[in-house]
Amino acid sequence: MRDSTALVSNEQKFQARIDAEEKVEPKDWMPEKYRQNLIRQISQHAHSEVIGEQPEGKWITRAPTLERKAILMAKVQDEAGHGLYLYASAETLGVTRDELIDRLHTGASKYASIFNYPSLTWADIGAIGWLVDSAAIVNQVSLQNTSYGPYARAMVRICKEESFHQRQGYNIMMTLMQGAELQRDMAQDALNRWWWPSLMMFGPHDAESAHSAQSMKWKIKRRSNDELRQQFVDQAVQQAEAIGLTVPDPDLHWNEARGHYDFGEIDWQEFQRVVSGNGPCNRQRLAHHMDAHNEGAWVREAMAAFDAKHRTPPAEVA
């Protein structure tokens, strides 16, 4: 009885802190569901950074110039770093890296479904940097104000690095649009294929989003899926037009009264299909991650052996 009273009061104190816009730090008391909700969201975010290296990494050896190759390598390297910031932030909640990777491999933990689409041409590298990273930034800027301190700080660091990603992608698209007809067609084709999956990145409509209400109350999420999606559309349409690209949505038009673009409905069946594991590349992405993880096992073992050797005093060895 006394325990349950204490718990209620802990939760009230916790919510009061959240309502007062104070950050939660690792050693604070927090509701178990807050902890689990955060682990789910941060690890999903971390996995997305890491799995996202695959569609781009594939083009490193085929980049059209040495400069583009160096730029793409730098970007993919950044994504690995972002994964690390986020895994480290999740680990402050008492979960281990191994557990997180295991959940990715068993499918218990998701990653952004956009990375289950293939990168078919060089223009896709432009479209990914421009659209996918733009969408990620819109979301991440709002997460700089998330209630959990380590997550918020990781977001600040990541956002600082992302603007290069977005700009190099847009620069690829712009360069293609200044080229021959074949190149312009290639850019337009990439936009056609990546536009709708980019809109899906923001998740289901607010009314249908499974975790949204509680996440907003706890200020893990600061803005709703639909608000963020709208912001992305408003920015991206202007950017597409500026370089002569056409957004593949017949229902898209400027709504003077709202001060925003109206846009067509997302194909939610496709969204569900890809989220539940049946997109074009789901199996390939996971299999590649598992292979890379397993092929790296000997390195981890060698490091552990080296560490053990140096911890053992020479006298005991003899």
Binding site: E22, K23, V24, E25, E67, A70, I71, A74, D78, S134, G149, A152, R153, S163, F164, Q166, R167, Q168, Y170, N171, M174, Q235, Q238, Q239, E241, A242, I243
Partner: protein, 94 residues
Amino acid sequence: MSDQLQLYEVFIRSSRGLDHKHVGSLHADDPQQALEYARDVYTRRGEGISIWVVASRDVTASQESDCESFYDPLDDKPYRHAAMYELPEGVDSL
């Protein structure tokens, strides 16, 4: 006595949401004592809400004299900065 005291580095979180920042160091007999000394020395006027102390000998630091070779491969990559990429007319923010 004094040669038995350890040097500790002190880090303070000035308010929730911010990183712990290095503020200085002090001598103490053990980590608990270092924490109490740090409280007395560095937070007398509400400077912090959380303190970390780390034995200075546990800090592994890069060497200023190695800067040139240590950071060498990082300095020649202007393309890591957003400012390298020019925006077309009509696009003000990206």
